[in-house]
């Protein structure tokens, strides 16, 4: 299409607006309300241009007018500039306090901001993170559009019309009551500084440093704005997997790094009290005590917990330290508690235990999301937003399977509220329907899989009627879910609701079976996609911080293990080590005498808390390396202060297998040191000849040992990470797994059907409720980081138990009353929160040490993956006396 702008002939694509085309050509048309080119708001009128088309001449907004063949456009003629000046003068009359990009515009047009009538503060300003200045708000509605179209939250809205229009939250409420996600999209959109991050301030010099968020496994890139040694604000980077999105934790969760409570000096417990010591004293003491225990009781009397919050380099070094310096395979980390069953289950079916697809293809191409056991908008918010956007924006379908009315259920076509622990039955039921309706993908089954007959035989008895009895999901819904899933390009998304069961491996394998049955593997917008909970769970596993496999998932005692021994120059023990829960059992029985815990808090995170604390107290020597005096650190003999991930370099591997480089944002506080440095110093003192000068040195060794990482270098991932497997430096990285063959001996995937087995503990007369646990949006894991942040505590100050309104009524409990929740293992008191949850099921978040959900949970293990059943425990409830 040909048009003329300011006398210059321009060829442009049909469908674009005048503003878009002009700006692409470098013509600077001012506009204050424009946010999304395809969805112009058209409220400010500043982009007005003069258009001549045929015999007609008229004026129109450049943002809302699409180009048309033969249009002649003038963008800066004197009368247009005059109009713009008039518009700005009118705004200036009443908006003295305008800042930001709008202020530049007023300066450019030489207009002075005036006005002194104070406007009333709307209630939305009552919140801990975002400030609002009504004197600066020009009602351009960019924030409203950001909140609705970009984030699909619809929290910021317009109240009234015309002159009286103002921006409010919800039904003119405080932001948190209106359901605000505190993602900051409105702040980023605001052109006048009316909405701002509370921590932001004007500084002479601010540096922008991009690194990876310290929280969940999405691995968002965050731009941190730093003045001196202080972060003043942060926002999602447009150059990461998150493409500019972020959540409350990415945007405001960095505040823990500046907490007064950070550990700044090494501490040794002397006569029951911690005393500050030098690094030398602490490291010598740790090395000599570990040596003593090893000599006295043998290497297998020592165990180490590595950390999914530490870098790949540190995990690699930690397990290497345990294996060849201490001499034991007793090394594990919290992935045992989250995705051990994913690794085992997916390995069994696909031959590889990682997320099959990428966020990018799920975002663009999935026609249906089957979200099961994942409260995505709370635990992996940026992926949650992606799903909401796909559903609302491009009409993707959504099936949610969850006993709670999670936020995504509001957006779903179908919500299956199955009883906790009945996932295998539900999935088998869906497969039964698919086969009986002839909806299976015959070609895919024939060419890419084996064991179909066995699957068909197993799922035969799981008719919708039979499954309804087990799961309590109406049979019509089971049929509908099966048909929807099988007839679309469907992606399965799951998290801890699937894995943290005694049937965790069975649940995961069953989901993989379902994907195989319908050919929903190896293609864009499909797959089986476990969402990893910690920023580096994937990497900690890849690095072999596991008792049964070495880096790159090499099995103990194999040829690959011997190759690794050559690189390491030491002997790797062949006996499998103990898993997290087994380590705690062994410690309580006195078989484990010494423990080295890096960046984990098992005293709060692990099931059956009383037992864990007793086990830790039973140790002869406990060393804890952490940022804070965690509940676990309090039980330690030595505490080593570690640098946070914003204070060091290294790599994290996100949920979609993307290896991403951290950039140091700040120097470590006090005498805190990066974990890799600490591990190396202890190793040296125990006789190891290690000389790593930087994380990069360690990564170069990882590349030799872990074939999946071989082609990845720090240089290649400086700007954006690469997804493994990446076998050589010319390899582009792998976006979708299994597109051609499966990494199994014969290249075929193997159907691995399971029968439904009930959870280890079912409700009975004595303990009639099912307790399930999980995260809130605002807090993270055991709260070691988020509970150090005032604003987060203001939003969610304490634990609660979600309960169905009829259950609450029967107990005589009202919203906010105290309830005593008791299981066979202990009891806690928490506030009742009447919520959308299945009758007979209650939910407690596990962030709160003072009312720890894990006092109640069961440590019964999945027989294959040894993951404990954190998601189902039988409890009884009563109103507090």
């Amino acid at each position: 299409m040909n048009i003329i702008i300011n006398g210059e002939k321009i060829e442009a694509k049909q469908g674009k607006s005048i503003l878009q085309v002009a700006r692409e050509k470098g013509i600077d048309i001012p506009a204050l309300c424009n946010l999304i080119d395809e969805k112009p708001i058209g409220s400010c009128g500043l982009c007005v241009v003069k258009i001549r088309k045929g015999s007609k001449t008229y004026y129109s907004r450049a943002c809302t007018t699409k180009i048309d063949e033969g249009m002649e456009i003038e963008t800066h003629s004197p009368e247009i500039e005059d109009t713009r000046k008039t518009i700005l003068e009118m705004i200036a009359e009443e908006h003295k306090e305008i800042k930001g990009e709008a202020k530049e515009l007023f300066l450019k047009y030489g207009i002075k901001l005036k006005g002194d009538n104070k406007k009333a503060m709307p209630k939305l300003a009552e919140n801990p993170f975002i400030s609002f200045n009504p004197e600066a708000c020009i009602s351009c509605f960019r924030c409203v559009q950001a909140c609705s179209l970009i984030k699909e939250n619809h929290v910021l809205v317009r109240e009234n019309r015309g002159m009286n229009t103002q921006i409010v939250a919800g039904i003119n409420e405080a932001l948190k009551d209106a359901g605000c996600a505190f993602c900051g999209a409105c702040v980023d959109a605001c052109p006048t500084g009316a909405l701002m991050d509370l921590t932001a301030r004007v500084e002479k010099e601010t540096k922008k440093i991009t690194s990876i968020c310290p929280y969940c496994g999405v691995g968002c890139a965050i731009d941190y704005y730093v003045s001196g040694e202080e972060i003043i604000y942060a926002k999602g980077s447009p150059n990461g997997v998150n493409k500019g999105d972020d959540c409350i934790k990415g945007r405001y969760g960095w505040q823990f790094v500046h907490s007064e409570e950070r550990l700044k000096k090494p501490l040794i417990k002397k006569n029951g009290k911690f005393e500050e010591v030098t690094w030398d004293e602490a490291l010598n003491y740790v090395a000599s005590r570990l040596k003593e225990i090893k000599e006295k009781y043998g290497a297998d009397s020592i165990a180490g917990l590595s950390s999914a919050k530490c870098t790949n380099e540190e995990n690699y070094l930690f397990q290497k330290f345990m294996r060849i310096v201490v001499g034991t395979n007793n090394v594990d980390h919290c992935a045992r508690l989250c995705h051990a069953s994913t690794v085992v289950g997916l390995f069994k079916v696909f031959g590889s235990g990682a997320m099959t697809n990428s966020l990018e293809d799920l975002d663009k191409d999935a026609e249906l999301y089957f979200v099961i056991g994942s409260n995505t908008t709370h635990a992996h918010p940026v992926i949650g937003t992606m799903i909401k956007r796909s559903v609302k924006g491009r009409g993707a379908k959504l099936i949610v399977a969850d006993p709670r009315d999670i936020e995504l259920a509001e957006y779903s076509d179908l919500h299956l509220r199955h009883r906790p622990g009945t996932d295998v039955s539900l999935i088998n039921g869906m497969m039964n329907v698919i086969i009986s309706h002839g909806l299976e993908d015959r070609e895919f089954i024939e060419n890419r899989t084996e064991g179909y007959e066995k699957l068909r035989d197993v799922v035969k008895k799981y008719t919708p009627e039979y499954v309804e009895k087990i799961t309590s999901v109406p049979k019509e819904d089971i049929i509908k879910a099966a048909v929807l899933y099988a007839t679309h390009k469907s992606a399965i998304i799951y998290a801890m609701g699937i894995t943290q069961h005694t049937s965790g491996t069975a649940n995961v394998a069953s989901l993989a079976n379902l994907a195989l049955l319908t050919g929903n593997v190896g293609k864009r917008g499909t797959g089986v996609n476990p969402l990893r909970g910690q920023n580096n769970v994937q990497g900690a596993g890849d690095m072999g911080a596991l008792p049964n496999v070495l880096p790159g998932y090499a099995k103990l005692g194999t040829r690959r293990a011997r190759e690794i021994e050559k690189t390491w120059g030491g002997k790797i023990p062949e006996k499998e080590g103990l898993t997290v829960v087994e380590i705690m059992h062994a410690a309580s029985k006195g078989m484990i005498k010494g423990m080295y815990i890096m960046g984990e808090n098992p005293a709060v995170s692990d099931p059956d808390q009383k037992h864990v604390i007793q086990a830790l107290k039973n140790l002869e020597f406990l060393v804890v390396q952490d940022l804070f005096m965690s509940e676990t650190a309090q039980l330690a003999d030595v505490i080593l202060p570690a640098a946070s991930s914003l204070e060091k370099e290294g790599t994290f591997t996100n949920t979609e297998r993307r290896v991403q480089l951290l950039h140091r944002v700040l120097e470590p506080v006090g005498d805190a040191k990066p974990d890799w440095w600490i591990i190396q110093e202890i190793a040296k003192r125990m006789g190891a000849d290690w000389n790593y000068k930087s994380p990069k040195d360690i990564f170069e060794e990882i590349r030799k040992v872990v074939p999946q990482y071989r082609g990845i270098t720090y240089e290649r991932i400086d700007k954006f990470g690469l997804q493994w497997p990446c076998p050589d430096e010319n390899h582009e990285s792998t976006k979708i797994l299994h597109d051609d063959i499966f990494p199994t001996p014969n290249g075929l995937a193997k159907f691995s059907p399971y029968e439904y087995e009930p959870p280890a503990e079912e409700p009975d007369e004595e303990y009639p409720f099912v307790l399930t646990t999980g995260r809130t949006y605002e807090h993270f894991h055991t709260g070691t980081l988020t509970r150090k942040i005032e604003g987060f505590n203001e939003l969610i100050p304490e634990a609660f138990v979600e309960i169905h309104t009829e259950d609450a009524e029967k107990l005589g409990v009202k919203d906010g009353d105290c309830i005593e929740v008791e299981s066979r293992r202990g009891k806690i008191r928490v506030k009742a929160k009447i919520a959308g949850i299945k009758k007979g099921v209650v939910f407690i978040p596990f962030h709160f040490a003072e009312s720890a959900a894990n006092i109640l949970t069961n440590d019964a293990l999945d027989p294959e993956a040894k993951i404990p059943e954190l998601k189902v425990a039988a409890v009884r409830l009563k109103k507090c006396q």
């Binding site: 619809h154 929290v155 809205v157 317009r158 019309r161 919800g170 209106a178 359901g179």
Partner: protein
């Protein structure tokens, strides 16, 4: 209240432009649109409460606060203004402890300021529950309203 709102929603469930019809019926039922009703509508229509409030607050005929038993329209058109409407408004606001547009704490009166009731010959005027009172003085206005209470 929830049951009633759900009943109204069910009545319109199959309509194309159901939100406005639902809001009208809710206001007819309760005299205004209560916050809790907005929450129920949001849940049932799978919308966010803010989206509903955004739409509803566009229309001046939707109310979000309960109205008093008696509606008092006080005219402040140019004629009434010249003839002392300002003093009447001031007196009423003091006497009933409200500002124009609000409802008294006891829920008896909702005061609204209007521009023109079409009876300039009797100005200053006010209208109570549809009945016009003219040639007012501040004292007479109070007296008329106090009489409603009996």
């Amino acid at each position: 209240m929830e049951d009633k709102v759900v009943e109204i929603i069910e009545k319109h469930r199959k309509d194309d432009a159901k939100l406005l019809a639902i809001l009208h019926d809710v206001q007819d039922e309760f005299g205004y649109i209560p916050e809790d009703a907005i929450k129920v509508i949001a849940r049932e229509l799978k919308m966010k409460k803010g989206e509903i409030y955004d739409t509803a607050s566009f229309y001046s005929f939707f109310r979000f606060k309960p109205e008093g038993q008696h509606e008092v329209l006080v005219c402040d058109c140019i004629v009434c203004h010249i003839k002392g409407a300002e003093d009447i408004i001031k007196r009423l606001e003091e006497e009933f402890k409200v500002t124009m547009g609000e409802t008294t704490k006891d829920g008896k009166y909702t005061f609204k300021m209007v521009k023109g009731l079409g009876h300039c010959e009797k100005s200053p005027v006010m209208m109570v529950d549809g009945k016009l009172y003219g040639n007012l003085t501040p004292e007479r206005a109070v007296e008329i309203l106090r009489r409603c209470e009996q």
